[in-house]
Symmetry: C2
Subunit: 419 residues, 2 copies
């Protein structure tokens, strides 16, 4: 138990947490349920793509050599001996100056080595037979999609840890993944503390506020790929808190409490960590908001004591919880994606500690821009709705002006960052 609160740098705090990050477990889901999950194994081609030489167009498959003499004033005629659609295979073998009418996607018939596009051929009937003629020569390989030109059997097409988007879903189908191994969603237990908290359905009464952090954190948990388990609201009573937390811990992969970590007379979390025998990794971070964020570990299980202040709670989740969640999801890039942007408004406040400003990032003329949303008072919940990034203003800086380049960490992004 740390007695005195020594603020540590944000990067060091994240490192202390990430020492306890580990890869998660694998579960199998049906392909229809895979969208939005994370691959728990590499996606490999189970066959060449295309799986056979095929036609990319509607047209006629021919032996290219037969077309060598074709000119504008000297059409060459082919007998059309068969028609094959996608999914069909030619039954006959072409002889010289014979052709097969072929649909997009169909397999090139044996003996053929080029495809004439429909619009370049003239088709006609004569004596009950079908013919077509062309006025230019074709080379072997013309208009053929060759077996394996997109991917070879065994190639890793998408690495483990990747978010399954619609394109990955298409690949899973193409390569026969009727069932998909995905990362099990880590379960995050959530407690809200504070006797000032009302349930959402309760009418407001003097001195009380509705419990918003628990709902916000549940949504952040889902966004990050986890499964939230809300255990409810705890009163400001240390024995009740301790018993509830002790009971909840075995049911979850991580535990979050909001509130109760400050230096107020009703902030019991430090005492609870001590009673649990948990090791406090830090209880003060040189950052705004969220300086009182406390993280502890018990037998390798992380307990996150986030601030009761909504903005600090929000930032605490994204900085400390998200990367351990993404590591469970096998992501090699568990951190928020980082970029630089042009600041669109003055931000005159000095930054004694690293400041995370809820911001709105967009693109103007190809350039990323960032602007703080709302006033940056840490008790203002309204600005959270518009934020899609955290602007990171380093500690020790004296304020920033419109036009300055600033670091931004992107919140609505599946790609992430490895640092």
């Amino acid at each position: 138990m740390v007695e005195k609160r020594n603020p540590i740098p944000v990067t060091e705090a994240i490192e202390r947490v990430m020492k306890y990050a580990r890869e998660g477990e694998v579960e199998t889901v049906r392909l229809e349920e895979a969208y939005g999950r994370y691959l728990a194994e590499d996606l490999r081609a189970d066959h060449d793509v295309p799986p056979f030489d095929r036609s990319p167009y509607d047209g006629f498959a021919i032996r290219a050599a037969d077309s060598a003499q074709a000119k504008l004033d000297h059409p060459v005629e082919f007998e059309v001996i068969e028609t094959i659609g996608a999914g069909q295979v030619a039954a006959k073998t072409v002889q010289p100056f014979q052709a097969v009418r072929i649909m997009t996607g169909a397999q090139i018939p044996d003996g053929c080595d080029a495809v004439v596009m429909l619009e370049l051929a003239k088709q006609y009937e004569r004596d009950g037979k079908t013919y077509m003629s062309i006025k230019r020569p074709f080379q072997p390989g013309d208009n053929i999609s060759f077996q394996g030109e997109d991917a070879k059997k065994g190639d890793v097409l998408v690495p483990k840890g990747t978010f399954i988007n619609p394109g990955v879903q298409a690949l899973l189908a193409t390569f026969g993944y009727a069932e998909v191994k995905v990362a099990r969603k880590p379960r995050i237990g959530i407690f809200a503390t504070g006797s000032e908290l009302l349930d959402v359905a309760e009418p407001l009464i003097p001195g009380k506020i509705r419990n918003s952090n628990a709902y916000m954190i549940q949504a952040q948990a889902i966004r990050s790929g986890a499964e939230p388990v809300y255990f409810g609201k705890l009163a400001d009573d240390i024995d009740i808190c301790f018993a509830a937390i002790q009971k909840a811990l075995p049911q979850v992969d991580f535990l979050i409490t909001t509130g109760g970590v400050s230096v107020g007379d009703y902030d019991y979390l430090p005492a609870i960590y001590e009673r649990l025998g948990a090791e406090v990794l830090f209880n003060k971070v040189a950052m705004r908001p969220g300086s009182v964020t406390t993280v502890a570990q018990l037998d390798g299980k992380l307990l996150f004591g986030l601030s009761g202040n909504p903005s600090a709670c929000y930032v605490g989740y994204e900085l400390f919880v998200r990367p351990v969640v993404r590591t469970r999801l096998f992501s090699p890039k568990p951190y928020l994606r980082k970029a630089t942007a042009t600041l669109m408004a003055d931000f005159p406040k000095p930054n004694p500690f690293t400041r995370f400003v809820r911001s709105y990032v967009t693109v103007e003329n190809g350039q990323l821009t960032a602007a703080p949303v709302g006033m940056d008072k840490s008790n203002i919940v309204t600005s959270l709705a518009k934020a899609n990034a955290l602007m990171v203003l380093p500690g020790g800086t004296r304020g920033f002006a419109k036009g300055d380049t600033v670091d931004v960490w992107l919140l609505e992004d599946e790609e992430g960052s490895d640092i």
Copy 2:
């Protein structure tokens, strides 16, 4: 029924579809289930924020006037008559030179008009009473968060049609939305056509490919906010197709078929639209891939005939289906978000028609960059997995060079665009 296929510009095709776009229906969900849905009504403040004057710090509430004479060499002493935590209301009324010990978030006691931060006060006991002293004066209003300074009761904080992100979720909780009115997810029926299609679990056999479009489209439907209903695979038989489509139509808001819209001999969709009595809005678009994309309407219900080619199918969904889905979700910005980016590779192909190139967009030094993913042959499925944008190269252009500025439409984005 359009007999001859006249390609129309992409923008006109989108306009013809959007004539049939309309707002959707409202359903009520519990707050816990609201994340990821779309607001079907404006989110309004049901009370002032803060709801009362409150302390942003741990400290002492005082009457500022009493501190007027405080100086470094002349501390002013206050008797601490009470302690209140967040959620508590002071029971006593302060008299001159009395103070109340107050926690972060607690209501300012009647009569007090300033808060002294804990670290600026010296606290001590004398004769069984508690005192504190300060060495500087405070002004009325110092360190008070005033009622309504963040939001006034009745203010629209988030407009109808907004995606519910974690911040919006927090606002919903704060303003008592235990139940939330959200847009009902439109149901999109999906059929895959083509006898060349194997089920995902089937082994590959010559001439056949696995059905990937149906799974890809289901994921795209979910990403856009809709609920996919997969009706399975249709054989290349017009009567079977017709009966299945006729039966499915009443069960869904939109119907998508993939394949069967080309000019091949097995492309039945045009005939099916005719037999249904549906009006074909267009059956050829001046674009690559997806020029054969066909859209029809029957009694105002849209039927999307997307290409069987995976890339064309993918693009067709994002261009034509997504905006009608987002309109159902009350979004005022139903189209893909647009931006400009610096092209990071040569793209020498001429563009007789508008070309949509699957691309990867990222940020380098604050600048949006775009690069095509994979070769842009429309039968290559592997590149879809990496694409997070469509690069839009206008028809009539002769190719683009590295460093050129290009238009990009962003695929992984909840914000959208109004044009």
